[in-house]
């Protein structure tokens, strides 16, 4: 096995072009488990922890450009105000030790339907920036997930950054697991109110082959809020609106039975989480007036 350790982004891209079968490793919280358990013997590991550029975040063009190697711990401590939904999701990741190493880029690379960051990225309408020696491209995060643990990366591409608009309204995140810490989601839900655009962003985790948005549910909620003049009045959220939203989120999911939970349980808990997230976010929106 080769161990490639580029110390610049250009060198990392060159290494990936030369070794397309190299497995990128950042925090190691997924990759090392596979190695430790003999589930994977890649021809090479491509260590990205020495590429400084990946661990930076900054604002550009009104968006947060989040380097793929920024850890969940730093997201929580440095970006909780600008990216509240993603920070909430980050707080549910593993344990302090795991959050000190795990990265959003790693979540995207693994592309597990249960990855904690995905519902928040979807709800916020994030974009993923990927690059190879051939050039760079950006895509909506919803296009990045293409199958169970499969993403849209070409063999020579690496994930460079995620672009996310700072929150302009309340965001919420909810995750079901068997305990609070160290738990993979049975299912999860992320929600973002975008009052400036009068839209409602959604993200479903662990209840379909890929993380996915509940597009119809989001459109329904946004329209219903608009028709009732609630974006302006910040009036109370009608329970029937929250209930219908929850049912439409449920309809967007296609879960399976597995060791962590049954499909029926996932559908039920998803509707509860969707309703709660909308109520919590709307309560915050009313308070912010």
């Amino acid at each position: 096995m080769d161990f490639l350790r580029p110390d610049s982004w250009a060198d990392a891209l060159a290494a990936k072009a030369e070794h397309p079968d190299a497995v990128p490793i950042a925090g190691g919280t997924d990759v090392m488990v596979e190695l430790n358990f003999d589930r994977r013997r890649p021809a090479a590991l491509l260590d990205l922890t020495r590429v400084d550029d990946l661990s930076q975040w900054y604002q550009q063009d009104g968006l947060v450009r989040l380097g793929a190697g920024v850890t969940f711990a730093r997201l929580i401590s440095e970006l909780g105000d600008q990216l509240p939904g993603l920070a909430m999701a980050s707080r549910t990741v593993g344990s302090p030790q795991i959050r000190n190493r795990g990265t959003v880029g790693g979540n995207l690379g693994t592309a597990s339907p249960a990855g904690d960051a995905h519902p928040a990225l979807l709800a916020a309408g994030a974009e993923v920036e990927v690059e190879s020696v051939r050039g760079s491209r950006r895509m909506p995060v919803s296009d990045f997930y293409v199958g169970v643990k499969r993403n849209a990366l070409e063999p020579d591409e690496l994930i460079r950054a995620v672009w996310i608009a700072p929150a302009t309204g309340p965001q919420q995140y909810s995750k079901i697991g068997t305990r609070n810490a160290m738990v993979i989601a049975v299912c999860a839900f992320g929600l973002a109110l975008h009052p400036s655009r009068k839209t409602v962003g959604t993200g479903i985790g662990s209840a379909a082959p890929t993380p996915r948005v509940a597009a119809q549910a989001g459109t329904f909620a946004a329209n219903a809020l608009e028709e009732a003049g609630l974006w302006e009045s910040r009036g109370e959220l009608p329970p029937s609106l929250a209930q219908e939203f929850a049912e439409q989120v449920q309809a967007a999911a296609s879960p399976i039975d597995d060791i962590r939970g049954s499909a029926a349980y996932r559908l039920l808990s998803l509707s509860v989480m969707a309703r709660r997230c909308l109520v919590w976010a709307w309560t915050d929106y009313r308070k912010a007036a």
């Binding site: 711990a73 302090p96 030790q97």
Partner: protein, 159 residues
């Protein structure tokens, strides 16, 4: 491959490290530092918690090559001039050690917590130690130990 690291303040160099092996394996099997324990090998139990560049991590999830050129402190490195660190002493005295397997990881995680928070509340302790599993104590004695260590450290700072 060759790995050169600073471990507990000393420069250490090891050769013939397999590219896919973990920092934990290097520490235990190549550097004769068996304090960090090998249990789950998947970041669930925290028994292998060490400092990597001053940040607590699961050594089983760090690829050996990622530790090259970095600074590592293991539970063995917490002692002060041959004496147990106050956190270690508190674990012994509070009865927070039963089989002892989880203790090294808990000691490092507690050491980190008390570096950041002088008198943590019970919920803060539970959150900080959420990545360290103990199957013997039921955690109550561990919480006692953390409070005891916190009291002693804050008293010694005042003196």
């Amino acid at each position: 491959m060759r790995i050169t690291t600073t471990v507990n303040g000393e420069q250490r160099q090891v050769d013939d490290v397999w590219e896919g092996e973990s920092l934990l394996y290097v520490l235990r099997e190549r550097m004769a530092l068996p304090g960090s324990k090998n249990a789950c090998e998947q970041g669930e139990c925290g028994a292998c918690t060490v400092y990597l560049d001053h940040v607590p991590v699961c050594a089983c999830l760090v690829a050996a090559g990622q530790a090259d050129g970095r600074e590592i402190v293991t539970v063995e490195g917490l002692q002060v001039e041959g004496e147990l660190h106050p956190v270690q002493r508190a674990f012994v005295e509070a009865g927070a050690v039963q089989c002892g397997f989880c203790t090294p990881g808990l000691v490092v995680a507690t050491h980190d917590l008390l570096e950041r928070s002088g008198q943590p509340s019970d919920p803060e302790i539970r959150e900080a130690l959420a990545g360290n599993l103990c199957r013997c104590t039921g955690y109550e004695k561990i919480l006692d130990a953390v409070h005891l260590a916190a009291d002693r450290l804050s008293t010694s700072e005042k003196q």
